[in-house]
């Protein structure tokens, strides 16, 4: 404005990269303080952190109603399990292949969107993709052992057998830190900016020289990679992969992790994973109450905090301001 006094730019301190080291360091001693059951739940949280982080790229950053996440998760889990059981690969060598299978499936799921199939149409098509895969898991018996599920031996890392949940925890922690760090770098770059530009105004994004189709595919591919890695972790954690684990109810859980945590927020995905994994476990001894409480958590949070639980933290502590997350 002409004549307006120049306002000094106050830069809000944002969630710095140091949290990627600080938070994991803080949780390092935790496995020595908890029992085996809690340890299992903590491992499950780590799996769901990546499930949420991956899903959030497509629905939060790219802003697409694409629900192939359970398909990506299942393919990652089966890819890892099949490579271990049938090809005899040590588990750790299946992590990247599981991610790549997830990325490929992600690219496949993005193809309808490139033909301008969006919104409800994309939503139902990607959900159908997940159900189709479940049908395949059941029918491809020689590989998947059908509806009985594939029993996978304890994971092996560089010749070491990870038979305890405590040892799995540390391996998972490293994986989560690395993948979240890479995702954060991607989202803070011109690539992440292009995703969000497409979300907010696709025509204008193209007018800025952004090849929108290419970024669509890239966002889905990276999302698929992250969720595929989560799948490999899931296989290592439960040791038994069944088609039932990848049904529509599981998809609702993935969706809730992102929404309750916070759309387009990495910290939100972590918080969402913690809340949605622990809530049902807290009420495990009260059968029938679990689902009720979970539903109330989802409805309650979104009613009062539409941008997720992370908005509560961001409001109170400025360190929770992420660069591309807006309350």
């Amino acid at each position: 404005m002409p004549g307006a006094a120049p306002v000094s730019v106050v830069r809000v301190p944002t969630l710095g990269r140091w949290v990627f080291l600080l938070v994991p360091l803080l949780v390092l001693p935790v496995p020595f303080l908890v029992n085996r059951y809690i340890q299992y739940v903590l491992n499950l949280i780590l799996v769901y952190v990546l499930v949420g982080v991956g899903f959030n790229i497509v629905i939060g950053n790219l802003g697409q109603l694409a629900f192939a996440n359970v398909a990506l998760f299942g393919l990652g889990a089966y890819a890892s399990g099949i490579l271990v059981v049938h090809a005899g690969w040590p588990w750790w060598t299946t992590i990247v292949p599981a991610g790549l299978i997830g990325a490929l499936a992600g690219i496949l799921a993005s193809l309808p969107a490139l033909r301008r199939i969006r919104l409800f149409y994309l939503a139902i098509m990607t959900m159908a993709f997940g159900e189709l895969l479940r049908w395949i898991y059941i029918r491809a018996e020689p590989l998947t052992n059908g509806s009985m599920g594939l029993a996978v031996p304890p994971p092996v890392l560089l010749g070491l057998r990870l038979s305890s949940d405590r040892s799995k925890f540390y391996v998972f922690l490293v994986l989560v830190v690395v993948v979240v760090l890479l995702t954060s770098s991607l989202l803070r770059s011109r690539f992440g900016r292009a995703f969000m530009a497409i979300r907010d105004n696709e025509l204008a994004a193209a007018a800025m020289g952004i090849p929108t189709d290419r970024y669509f595919v890239l966002a889905f591919a990276w999302s698929g990679f992250v969720v595929g890695v989560a799948g490999a972790m899931y296989t290592a954690l439960v040791g038994h992969v069944t088609p039932e684990a990848f049904n529509l109810l599981e998809l609702i859980l993935h969706f809730a992790v992102v929404m309750v945590g916070g759309l387009a927020s990495l910290a939100g995905s972590v918080i969402g994973a913690i809340v949605l994994t622990t809530t049902p476990e807290l009420f495990r001894s009260f059968p029938g109450v679990q689902e009720l409480v979970l539903s109330f958590v989802i409805i309650g949070v979104l009613l009062f905090l539409p941008r997720g639980l992370v908005s509560l933290l961001a409001r109170r502590w400025s360190v929770f301001h992420e660069r591309y997350y807006r309350e």
């Binding site: 120049p6 730019v9 770098s185 969000m196 800025m208 020289g209």
Partner: protein, 252 residues
């Protein structure tokens, strides 16, 4: 040599001919206004130039090179940039991030360089960020840099959108109703910005506008569109005296 040449450009939507055989040519550093009643095909003509609408016939040349049939991102990369009628900002991104997105093609960081946080990629990103900040400051809106675009006023959004379009120093800028809804003081400021761009950077500007006195002061030539056709093309002194123009506007 003409910067932009439209030859017999025709755009059809279903049975409707939105732009019907428009030919015009624009020189570097020229300010051209396109006026005409609602539904005359002004925005469609912009969409045809930027690749957002397909041509049914005709050709478009930019610096003697055919650009019709190119995807919008390629037209943009060649140096044709635009703003949008109803505001084309990325609402959740800040003003600064909007300008950075505008610089997309000039932040040549690679996927793996970014992923692994290579020093070169970080330096490129930092350089782009300070350049974007500098551009906002140059336009006198540096204090808005860290505000989400959706929280800015209409006039502020218009300015940010223009900065974003100009970030790559394009030879041609298309402005779709830049002055509509602006307070007189902001309108004056916008006028100053356009004049400075033309004088200092030699940028050619095509603008669609209804605010007639704005058009009269800023443009070198005015094109009048009606029913998708050019009914007048002349200086601000000539056009208001044109019979067809009076008929189109006054309906007699």
């Amino acid at each position: 040599m003409a910067l932009l040449e439209l030859d017999d450009v025709t755009v059809r939507y279903g049975g409707l001919t939105a732009v019907a055989g428009v030919s015009l040519s624009l020189d570097p550093g020229e300010v051209r206004a396109i006026i005409g009643p609602n539904g005359a095909g002004k925005t469609t003509l912009f969409n045809a130039i930027t690749g957002h609408a397909m041509l049914a016939a005709g050709s478009i040349r930019f610096r003697a090179e055919r650009i019709d049939g190119l995807a919008p991102y390629l037209v943009s990369a060649k140096g044709v940039r635009r703003t949008f009628q109803n505001g084309g900002l990325f609402g959740e991104l800040t003003a600064l991030e909007n300008v950075l997105a505008g610089l997309h093609t000039q932040v040549p960081t690679g996927f793996f360089g970014v992923l692994f946080g290579m020093p070169a990629a970080r330096a490129t990103e930092r350089a782009a960020t300070s350049r974007a900040r500098g551009l906002l400051e140059l336009m006198g809106i540096g204090h808005l840099a860290d505000k989400p675009a959706r929280e800015l006023s209409g006039g502020q959004q218009r300015m940010v959108e223009i900065v974003r379009a100009l970030a790559t120093r394009p030879p041609l800028l298309l402005l779709d109703e830049p002055a509509v809804g602006l307070a007189p003081a902001v309108r004056e400021q916008l006028l100053g910005v356009i004049r400075r761009l033309v004088r200092e950077e030699g940028i050619a500007v095509v603008l669609i506008e209804h605010a007639i006195e704005f058009v009269m002061t800023v443009s070198d030539r005015i094109v009048v569109l009606n029913d998708g056709k050019v009914i007048a093309d002349g200086t601000p002194a000539e056009v208001p005296r044109n019979r067809e123009v009076l008929e189109a506007y006054l309906g007699h």
